[in-house]
């Protein structure tokens, strides 16, 4: 009973006190490549607005070219992982980079596995 109370208290404390110290986040992704992809996605989300605006200045016929060159340099100075081009739509379960159906975010093998076990809603073996 005391332990559970302590547990609750700790949880509450975590909520009440804003987490100032950054702890090591331990979560298990399928492999390191998936983790790197996750980091790239986060960074791309952070810098999305900025990239859009700098690109708006660059891809322009109105503004002077010197300004556009400066903008070029600026965008190149942003972290490399912030560009959305580096994101790869991997399979969510197996981290397979190829053969991934975008709608289900699954690789073809996993998709087939689930569909055969009737665990995919609305999916049926095709026959015509």
């Amino acid at each position: 009973m005391a332990a559970s109370m302590l547990g609750w208290a700790l949880q509450a404390a975590r909520q009440v006190l804003p987490s100032a110290c950054t702890r090591q986040v331990r979560s298990y992704y399928v492999d390191w490549r998936m983790l790197r992809d996750v980091k790239r996605r986060k960074l791309a989300y952070e810098y999305a607005d900025q990239r859009l605006r700098i690109n708006a200045i660059r891809k322009n016929t109105i503004l002077p070219k010197e300004l556009q060159e400066v903008a070029d340099k600026e965008i190149a100075a942003l972290p490399r992982d912030s560009c959305p081009v580096r994101i790869r739509n991997r399979c969510v379960l197996t981290s397979r980079p190829r053969g991934v159906r975008r709608r289900w975010r699954l690789s073809r093998i996993v998709f087939r596995h689930f569909a055969d076990h009737a665990q995919m809603s609305g999916i049926q073996r095709a026959m015509w």
């Binding site: 609750w8 208290a9 509450a12 404390a13 009440v16 708006a56 503004l63 002077p64 010197e66 300004l67």
Partner: protein, 385 residues
């Protein structure tokens, strides 16, 4: 012939409006001069209107009924001007909405106002002297009407079947009165509004709602106890409603309930850790597992897993701003230079933002401010160019 003596006395601001009213009929030069004397700026508007209205109102048959009606208008307005100016608003609204003949309408109103005429007769001769002063005050206070409003009034008047000139002048009078009341409100004269609104609701019943009652009677006969009585009942019913309305004259539109809730909130201090975990314990105990699929769906909806049906497309979107704040973004371009490529560029940006339904206004403003900061930083570079 129309006893302007009585007409001038009474409510402030009525004088100017009355001038417009009287000129509606076959405008006698004397009255036009009189109006010109009193209504300085508005007079030019009236003149302009009459020039347009004479063009619009081609039917000369209207002039004869208008003559007759103006007499009644005058006699009606004797008492009405003495009351709050909003009476006229009612008259005009009543005129426009109800399809009763104009004369009947006037007769009805006359019947209502006969009571008040007696009191105003006393006021009439006394306030005649103050009439000119009030008129002058009105001229000083009253702003000239928007030319667009004036044109709109003339268009509306032309569309209506009866008494184009009269309705036009009445509309203008109304507009002027509107502005006057807003000025009064700004200065803090809120007492009139209560009377006005209570009076308005009272008056509106008899002419307009009689038609409604007659039509509703057909539908509601079966629902009622069968006590639907002939139109003789209508007047006592309206009387009752009038009485009930007059009894509760306090219009509690603005309640003071908010202050109480604020006090209640302040007493609660920031919750301690123990309070939090106690609350969590209670929640864990009371949250029983769902007994059936419905309860499960309810739980999911509460958690946010399941959407609410019928689906509202704006779930989670709390954009309280009006459409014009999204579209007219030029005011945010104040700090930018007015000429040159940067302005051109920013105008394109704003054009794109105005067409974007996905961003909130804050985001759009942030977007523009980012560009502002960026160009501020690059100012030296820009000046080299």
């Amino acid at each position: 012939m129309w006893s302007r003596v009585r007409g001038w006395g009474g409510a402030a601001g009525g004088s100017c409006r009355l001038a417009a009213r009287f000129l509606a009929g076959p405008a006698s030069g004397r009255e036009a001069a009189g109006a010109a004397r009193q209504a300085g700026r508005p007079h030019s508007k009236i003149q302009k209107l009459f020039s347009t209205s004479s063009v619009l109102s081609t039917e000369k048959d209207e002039s004869t009924p208008s003559k007759d009606s103006t007499t009644k208008v005058a006699s009606k307005s004797q008492g009405s001007t003495a009351e709050t100016p909003k009476q006229k608003l009612l008259d005009i609204i009543g005129d426009m909405k109800v399809e009763v003949s104009y004369r009947k309408k006037l007769q009805q109103l006359k019947a209502h106002e006969n009571k008040k005429q007696a009191t105003n007769k006393l006021e009439g001769p006394d306030s005649e002297g103050t009439m000119l002063q009030k008129a002058k005050e009105d001229i000083q206070r009253g702003k000239p009407l928007n030319p667009e409003l004036v044109e709109a009034a003339s268009a509306v008047a032309s569309s209506l079947p009866l008494n184009k000139k009269q309705t036009e002048s009445e509309l203008l009078a109304q507009l002027r009165r509107h502005e006057e009341t807003t000025d009064k409100q700004k200065k803090g004269g809120t007492i009139n509004i209560r009377n006005v609104i209570s009076e308005m609701s009272v008056k509106r019943q008899s002419p307009a709602e009689r038609g409604v009652r007659i039509s509703s009677r057909i539908f509601l006969e079966s629902d009622e106890d069968g006590q639907r009585i002939r139109p003789g009942r209508v007047s006592p019913q309206s009387f009752d409603s009038r009485r009930s309305l007059k009894v509760g004259k306090r219009l509690n539109i603005f309640t003071k309930a908010s202050t109480e809730t604020e006090k209640a909130l302040k007493t609660v201090s920031s919750p301690t850790i123990w309070d939090l975990e106690f609350a969590k314990e209670i929640a864990a105990i009371t949250a029983q597992p769902p007994r059936n699929g419905f309860e499960e769906m309810i739980q999911w909806t509460k958690e946010g897993i399941l959407w609410e049906f019928p689906i509202d497309n704006e779930a989670g979107m709390e954009d309280d701003a009006e459409f014009h704040e999204h579209i007219f973004l030029e005011k945010h371009l104040k700090d930018f230079p007015k000429q040159g490529p940067i302005r051109h560029f920013m105008e394109l940006v704003i054009c794109g933002l105005s067409k974007n339904p996905y961003l909130s206004i804050k985001q759009k403003i942030e977007h523009i401010e980012w560009f502002q900061k960026y160009f501020e930083e690059k100012k030296e570079l820009l000046q080299e160019i």
